[in-house]
Structure formats: C-alpha cells, structure tokens
C-alpha cells in the first residue's frame, strides 16, 4: 500500500508479535458484545418459536391469558405497559425539564453540582427498593389522600371512577415517574450544556428576558436532544420491572380507570416465568420478552439518533 510499510527482522518480529497478540485479545473482547446481542436475539426467538407458531401476530391483539387452557394474548400487557409509561412521562417530563433548565440556566453556580448529584442518586436506588417504598409508604398515602381527591374532583372522567384499591395503574405510573426522572434530567442537562453560549447572549442582547431567551433561543436549539432524552426515559419506563410488579396490582385486564389494577409486559414475565410449567406458557412469556426487547431497541435507537444529531449540529453551528 504505502511505501512506509516494512518487513520484519528477528527483534522486529517479536515486537510485532506482541502487538498482534494485543490486538487479537482486544478484538475477541470487543466481539463479545455484538456476539452476545446476536445470541440474545436468537435465544429469545428460539424460546418464543412455539408461541409465535401457535398465535402468530394475533398474540399482540388478543386479550386472553389462560395458562390452564394454554391460550395467551398480550394486549392487556401491552396496554398496561404503554399506559403506565405514558402517564409516567406525563408527570416526569415537565418536572425533569424544569429541573434541568433551572440547573443549567438559572440556579446559582454553587448549588448546580450538589443538586444534580442528589437527583442522580435517585437513579442509583435499586428498583426493588422503590417497590418496597411504594407498597408501604406511597400507596397508603395515595389511597388516603390523593386518590379520593382525584375521584371527588375529576370523578366525572372515566379514568377516575371505580373502587380505589391502592395498587394500580396510577400508582405504577407515579413510581415510574420518580424512577425515570433522573435519566431524563441528566440527559437533557447535558444537551442544554451543549448549547453554545452565543445562542443565549444573542437573545439577551436583543432585550429578551431570561425566560424569553430560553424559549426563543436555547430550547429550539436543544429541541431534538431533549426529545431524545424523553424517549430514552420512555425506554427505561417500558422495561422497568420490579417496582412496577410490586405496585401495579398484576391483573391481566384492560380497565379505563387508572385506579384499577393492571399489568405490564415486564411485570408478567417477572411474576410468571419461574412458576410457569407448561412449555406454551413459557414460550408465550418469551414472546412477550421478545416483543419488549424489539420495542425498547427501536425506542433507544431513535433516542440515540436524536441526541447524536444535537451533538453534531451543536459542533457544526458553534464552529
């Protein structure tokens, strides 16, 4: 190729051998990641084969879940997953964006680091601890105060009717909101930090208030990155297992009321997998896992793409 490529002598051979060995060892470890993914997809598919053959895509639209009869449909699980995650985002997005914006644009320098550290600690709390807290502290509180209030004031809506159990869709959504908030917060904070200062200063120089500079200049610039952060949070919420299992009520049902118990894909796998005896039951759960996997992969890929676009755009525009 290039004239600088050279041959080898004895000592040279030794050095080159070390480099080759080094690269070979690293290549093997680097290969592990894609190989694992390929293997994971294959095993999930192999595990679901029976259920895919039996139910096909109808699995995703059927509401039946009868392990005794061997009939399975994942619609209530998909419904529960989507509704709980969407509600969680509804609560978490304004909060986390507020925090992220406050911490990057308005807060005194001194408190920025410590506060974001505290909120990021929330992400370190294990899911099962959230579940424990949810069962014994949050649900009793919600059942005694917030839920009755919602029923009294918004009871004319179908979402806030029916008996209040405690565990249910809304409880799950609230605990999910607390859990995904640190992710959305920290990613949008990074995105906002990547917005060049010239954007802010240009707006302020034109006489805008700080709020107007934010909405007029900073947020438009960071928009796709923030959307990416939200989608990343969505990916987390969809796959969150333990806390949801512990507070959602675990019932294969589609109910209009947010007080009613529900189920999610991840929770169903967690609860039933170890106990399932029939092959078709295991296979159906595997099918659920495969579906969940595909959905989260698509969602994460979309989020990465958006965040990456801001990073690129930021680099280009500031140059």
């Amino acid at each position: 190729m290039s004239p600088s490529a050279t041959g080898s002598d004895a000592t040279l051979g030794g050095a080159r051998f070390g480099d080759r060995l080094f690269k070979a060892a690293l290549t093997l470890t680097a290969l592990a990641v894609p190989v694992l993914l390929g293997f994971l997809v294959f095993e999930l598919w192999a595990g679901s084969r029976e259920a895919i053959g039996e139910f096909g895509l109808g699995f995703l639209t059927s509401s039946e879940w009868d392990p005794v009869e061997g009939r399975f449909g994942a619609l209530p699980l998909i419904f529960g997953t989507v509704v709980s995650s969407a509600l969680a985002l509804l609560i978490a997005v304004p909060l986390s964006l507020g925090v992220a914006i406050f911490l990057t644009e308005f807060a005194p320098m001194r408190i920025r680091g410590p506060v974001s550290f505290l909120i990021e600690l929330l992400a370190a709390i294990p899911s099962v601890v959230y579940g424990l807290w949810g069962i014994f502290v949050m649900i009793p509180f919600l059942r005694a105060t917030v839920f009755p209030f919602l029923k009294d004031t918004l009871g004319f809506l179908p979402f806030f009717q029916g008996p209040i159990y405690g565990p249910g869709m809304l409880s799950a959504a609230i605990i999910l909101a607390i859990m995904v908030m640190p992710y959305i917060m920290s990613v949008s904070r990074e995105v906002l930090l990547a917005v060049p200062n010239t954007q802010r200063e240009a707006a302020l120089a034109l006489g805008a208030t700080r709020w107007e500079a934010l909405t007029g200049a900073v947020l438009p610039y960071a928009r796709s990155g923030i959307i990416g952060a939200v989608i990343l949070g969505l990916g987390r919420a969809l796959g969150e297992t333990m806390a949801v299992t512990m507070v959602i009520g675990n019932r294969h049902e589609i109910a209009a009321s947010l007080f009613a118990p529900g189920y999610t894909m991840a929770a169903a796998i967690a609860n039933e997998f170890a106990e399932a005896v029939e092959n078709i039951h295991l296979s159906a759960l595997s099918y659920v896992a495969l579906t969940l996997f595909v959905v989260t992969v698509l969602i994460n890929a979309a989020a990465r793409l958006l965040i990456w676009r801001v990073a690129q755009g930021g680099g280009g525009k500031s140059a």
Partner: protein
C-alpha cells in the same frame, strides 16, 4: 561545517496525509554534533518533516512517505528496520511537556530504558542520574526522584522530557518547538542545554522564534509551503539570505 560527518539525511523525502502532500521532495543532510534549526510559517510542514525522520508520521492515520531517510547511511524505511528501535536511536521532544502522569520522576526518565534490554538496578540508577544531569535537572529533583512528575513546573517538566529522551543514548534528538509553552526563564534553560547536548548528540530543532534559531543553531533551514527553500550556516542565512522568500520571512514580512 563541511568537516563534520553527516549523521542523518533525507533524499527527496515527501510526506503525505492521505492524498494531500505536506512535505514535498526535501533533500537535506544534518551533520553530527551540530544544532540544526528548521524555521518557516505555520503549516509549512516542519513538524511533518521531523516526524517522518523517526517514522512517527506513519502512525498518523493516512500518513505515508516517498523518498528516503538515511541514518548513518542506512535507509530507515528499508524493509527489516524496526521502527521502535529506530525511535530509540532518534529521540523526540514535543512542544508541550509530556511527562507520564502516573510515573515518578525516576520512572519517567527510566521509561525509555525499560523497553530495551534489561539492565541491573545500579546501572539503571546511574543512567537516570546521568540523563538528569545532562538535562540540567539533577540538582532540582535529586531529593524527590520518587515523587510524581506532574508536580514539576512546566520548564522542569520539559527538561525531564529531555532527560527521558537522552537516557537511552540516541544519536539524534528531534525537538518540535520545545520552548513554545515555556516562560522566558524555562526557555533560557533549554537553550543553554542545547549547547552541552550537541557535544554528544545531533540536534534538529523546529522553532517559530527567529532569535532562538539565530542564538542556538549552527545551520538553519527555511521551509515554505511544504518545500525546502533555503539551507545554510545560520549566520549566513540570517545576514544574507539567497532567496527572496527567506528574506521576507526573517524580516517579518509574512508568516
């Protein structure tokens, strides 16, 4: 100057980054035990030229060369030459001091010795001391050899890098703007050092500072747009340059 033997030379050396050529067709020879300065405006290919001489250039993605570099008459790009051994014979000091942050002062100087053949401990300590003395740093650090190298001042760090480079006893030392990040005092120490170092080594130094070139070097070569424009004894090149571009540059009309 003609009496001294040629230590390292280039023959029609061109250095490329992918498709773009940074150094064009340079033929030069550098006599032993002299300080040779390379000057020229920014981007004219001085660094690239320097890095082609110890085969660092080929480590840059897309970097390749044509032509030859002769060290003691032998082509360093010939098949069978081990670039790692070559770099032990042609040492290099960079613009910013680059001490290894996790190593002590002693280990920094010994770093280049440890890749060669094994040496007894006593000999290693002896060589490190010689190198530190050679770099005029021994008296300042002899009591803290085991402490971290990053605690030294910038000028001391750069002399440490000189010590690290001379410890394996190279034949040629390439310096790429070694004083660019130093204060005047640090700069002076390095310049003084060059006078003693040239007793032992052949020195090629890239500099942006024309006074520095005039002060320290025996010969000066002017690069422009990737090509070698003029080379000669330093005094002559600065007092009566043969080429118009050279005169324009040294009188500060461009670059």
């Amino acid at each position: 100057m003609a009496d001294a033997a040629v230590r390292i030379a280039t023959e029609r050396l061109s250095a490329m980054y992918g498709k773009s050529t940074a150094v064009k067709d340079v033929t030069l020879s550098f006599a032993a035990n002299r300080v040779h300065a390379l000057i020229g405006p920014s981007g004219c290919g001085k660094s690239t030229f320097l890095r082609a001489m110890n085969r660092m250039h080929e480590l840059t993605p897309g970097g390749w060369i044509t032509g030859r570099v002769l060290l003691d008459g032998q082509d360093v790009y010939a098949p069978g030459v081990n670039p790692m051994q070559l770099r032990r014979r042609v040492g290099m000091v960079f613009q910013k001091p680059t001490p290894f942050p996790t190593m002590s002062i002693f280990d920094n100087v010994a770093a280049g010795l440890r890749v060669g053949q094994r040496r007894p401990k006593a000999e290693l300590a002896e060589t490190v001391e010689q190198a530190l003395r050679g770099a005029a740093l021994w008296d300042e650090v002899k009591d803290r050899l085991a402490t971290s190298a990053v605690a030294l001042s910038g000028g001391q760090q750069q002399r440490l890098c000189v010590a690290r480079t001379i410890a394996p006893q190279p034949e040629v030392i390439l310096l790429d703007e070694p004083t660019a990040s130093l204060d005047p005092q640090g700069t002076q120490r390095i310049e003084e050092l060059l006078f003693t170092l040239k007793q032992t080594f052949t020195i090629i130094i890239v500099t942006h500072n024309m006074q520095q070139a005039a002060r320290v070097s025996d010969t000066t070569t002017f690069f422009y747009l990737g090509g070698m424009v003029e080379t000669g004894a330093t005094r002559q090149l600065f007092t009566s340059p043969a080429r118009e571009e050279t005169e324009a540059y040294i009188t500060g009309r461009f670059g």
